[in-house]
Subunit: 337 residues, 2 copies
DNA sequence: GTCGGGAGTCGAATCGATTCGACCACTCGA
DNA sequence: TCGAGTGGTCGAATCGATTCGACTCCCGAC
C-alpha cells in the first residue's frame, strides 16, 4: 500500500495524492474526499524512509544517554522521559544512543548517515569530545549541561554554582559554622563533570566569603555510599552541623546513616541542597532544596533544538535556570553549644 | 557526499562502491582500497533513509514506554536501558514511543510507515489493545510481560505467581501464620496489569493451601504510600507477622514506616518479595527476595524479536523466568507469642 | 472576442542507496 | 582450440515518496 496504489484506486495521479495529503497545492474537495476514503479504507501511511530521503529530514531527534553500565540517576531518567514526551508533542520521534564517549559505534551511527535532524546530549563534561565532534559534523545539537566553553553551543542547565552558594549562605544565616558538601562521585569529578566542579568552586568561595569551615567530600552515586559518607563525616568532622548536597542518589543512604546514628534533623544537623522535588519530598524530614525542574528542562532542550534546526545560523541560545530553594523541614538554627 | 561522489573520486561506478562496502560481490583488493581511502578521507556514511527505502528494513527497533506522566519505576527503567544496550550491541537503533494506549499519535507513527522493523512493548495488561493492534498490523513484536492469551505472541516475563507462592511457602515454613501481600496500585490492578493479578491469585492459593490468614492490600507505587500502607497494616491487622512484596517503589516508604514504628526486622516482622537486586540490597536489613533480572530480560526480548523478524512464520516463543529467591536478612522464624 | 491568471491535475525528475543483468578478460579442462 | 566458468565491473532499474514544469479548463476584465 504505497502512494501509487492509493492513486490508482482513487483514479488520480500520485502527485495529486501527495498534494491532497500535504496541502502544498490546491486539490478539489471532491478529489480530496475520494482520496481520503481510499486512505482510510486501506490504512495507508506514507513510508517514512522515502519521505526522509526526498525531503532531506527525518523528523527524528537523537538522544544520547549514558551507557547502561552506569546506572541512570533519577534526574537523568527525568530528562529522558521529558525529552521523549516533548518530542512526541511536536510529532517527532526520538532515537536513543547509549554511548559514553566519541567514536562509539552507536554514536557514530546516530550522527552520520542523516539518521536524525538534531541531537540532544546529556551528562556533559567540562571538556567533552562529543560536543566538538558534533560541531565538526555540523549537526544541530543542544546539550543538557554545559562545557567549559559555553558560548558556541546551545544548552540548558541548572546553575549548580549559584544554588550551592545559596544553600551555604542560607545555612550560614542560620548560624552554622561548619558545613559539608555532599558532592558527586570521585569518578565524575575526575572525568570533569561540570556540576560537580561548579558546585565545588562555588562552595569553596561561599565558605571563604562567610569565614566558615568547609568540608568538601565526594561520594559515589548510590545509597550505600551515602550511608558510609555520613558515618565518616560524623567520625572525622565532628564540628560540622550542616550539609549541602547535590548527590540525589546518595540521599536514601544519608537518611539511613542519620537514623542509625540517631542524629536529629534539623536540631543536630541541617541539610539543604539540590534535588528533584520527588527526592526532596521523599526525605524525612522533607528536604530544604532547590527543585531541579527536569520536565521543563527536557521541554526547553527540545524547543531550543527545533529552533536550531530551523535556523542553524542564528546565534546559539542558552538557558541557565536557578530554581528557587524550597524551604522545607531539614534546616534550622545551629545548635548553640 | 553520497555514494556517487565517492564513486566519482575513486574512478569507479556507484555499484562497485556499494559492492565494496557490503561485500555482496567480489571487488578486487586494489579497487577496494582506493574506495576505502576516499571514504575515510571524506568521512562518508551511507544515507540511512535511502538504504532503508531500498532494502525494505530500517535496522531500527521500536520501544513503547509508559508516558512520562506515570513515573517510570526502577524496573521499567532497567528494561529500557537493557533493551537499548542489547540493540546497540546488535548494531540496531531504538526508537522510543511514550504511549499508554492504542490510537496514540506517537504509537501510530511508530508502527505504521515502516519506521521500525519490530517493536518491544512493556507494561502489558491482561487485555491489551496494543497487542491486538500489532497483530493486525502484522509487525513483528515481543512483549515484556504477557497478556491473558499468551500463546499467539512472543514474550519474556517473570513468573510472579510462582515467586509470590514461593515467598509465602518460605514464610509459612518459618512459622508465620498471618501474611500480607504488598501489591501494586489499585489503578494498575483495575487496568488489568498482569503481575498484580497473577500475584494476587497465587497469594490466595498459597495462603489457602497452607491454611494461613492472608491480607491482600494494594499500594500506590511510591514511598509515601508504602509508609502509609505499613501503618495501616499494623493498625488493622496486628496478627500479621510477615510481608510478601512485589511493589519495589514502595520499599523506601515501607522501610521508613518500619523504622518509625520501631518494628524489628526480622524479629517482629519478616519480609520476602520480588525486587531488583539493587532495591533488595539497598533495604535494611537486606531483603530476602527473588531478583528480577532486568538486564537479561531486555537482552532476551531483543534476541526474540530478532528471531521473529528473521522468521516471522516460526511459532512464537516465550520465556518465563523464575529467578531463585536470594535468602538475605529480612526473614526469620516467627515470634512465638 | 480574447487574453491573463488561477484552480486543478498530470507526468517526469529526483533523493541515495541496492541489485540485477550484461559484459569483458582470464583461466582451466576437455 | 574452444567453451564453460568465474572474478570484476558497469549501467540501468528500483524502492516510495515530493516537487517542478506544463497542461487544461474556466472565469472575469478589457
Amino acid at each position: 500500500m504505497n502512494i501509487g496504489e492509493i492513486a490508482r484506486r482513487a483514479g488520480v495521479s500520485r502527485s495529486t495524492v501527495s498534494y491532497a495529503l500535504t496541502g502544498r497545492r490546491p486539490v478539489s474537495a471532491e478529489t480530496r474526499q475520494r482520496i481520503q476514503a481510499v486512505i482510510d479504507e486501506l490504512g495507508y501511511r506514507p513510508n517514512a524512509a522515502a519521505r526522509a530521503l526526498k525531503e532531506g529530514r527525518t523528523r527524528t531527534l537523537g538522544l544520547v544517554i549514558p551507557p547502561a553500565s552506569a546506572r541512570l540517576t533519577d534526574m537523568q531518567l527525568g530528562f529522558v522521559a521529558s525529552v521523549v514526551e516533548a518530542a512526541a508533542q511536536a510529532d517527532l520521534d526520538v532515537l536513543l544512543s547509549p554511548s559514553g564517549g566519541d567514536h562509539d559505534r552507536s554514536f557514530e551511527r546516530l550522527i552520520s548517515g542523516n539518521r536524525v535532524d538534531g541531537v540532544i546530549l546529556m551528562e556533559i563534561r567540562l571538556e567533552d569530545e562529543r560536543v566538538t565532534r558534533l560541531h565538526r559534523e555540523g549537526l544541530p545539537f543542544v546539550t543538557i549541561g554545559h562545557t567549559a566553553h559555553p558560548h558556541g553551543t546551545c544548552w540548558v542547565d541548572v546553575d549548580y554554582g549559584t544554588l550551592v552558594a545559596r544553600c551555604v549562605h542560607h545555612l550560614a544565616d542560620l548560624g552554622h559554622r561548619g558545613i559539608a558538601l555532599l558532592n558527586r562521585s570521585t569518578e565524575l569529578i575526575a572525568a570533569g563533570y561540570g556540576p560537580a566542579h561548579r558546585a565545588q568552586a562555588a562552595f569553596a568561595e561561599a565558605i571563604h566569603q562567610r569565614g566558615l569551615t568547609g568540608v568538601d567530600l565526594p561520594c559515589a552515586d548510590d545509597p550505600a555510599a551515602g550511608e558510609e559518607w555520613f558515618e565518616q563525616l560524623r567520625d572525622r568532622h565532628p564540628g560540622v552541623t550542616a550539609i549541602t548536597t547535590i548527590n540525589e542518589a546518595a540521599l536514601p543512604g544519608l537518611q539511613r546513616g542519620i537514623e542509625r546514628l540517631d542524629v536529629a534533623v534539623p536540631r543536630e544537623m541541617s541539610i539543604a541542597g539540590v534535588a528533584a522535588r520527588h527526592w526532596a519530598e521523599g526525605f524525612r524530614p522533607q528536604l530544604t532544596a532547590a527543585d531541579v525542574p527536569t520536565l521543563e528542562m527536557g521541554a526547553h532542550a527540545v524547543a531550543l533544538l527545533l529552533e536550531r534546526i530551523a535556523t542553524p545560523t542564528a546565534p546559539p541560545r542558552h538557558l541557565l535556570l536557578t530554581p528557587p530553594i524550597s524551604l522545607r523541614d531539614s534546616t534550622g538554627p545551629a545548635r548553640t553549644t
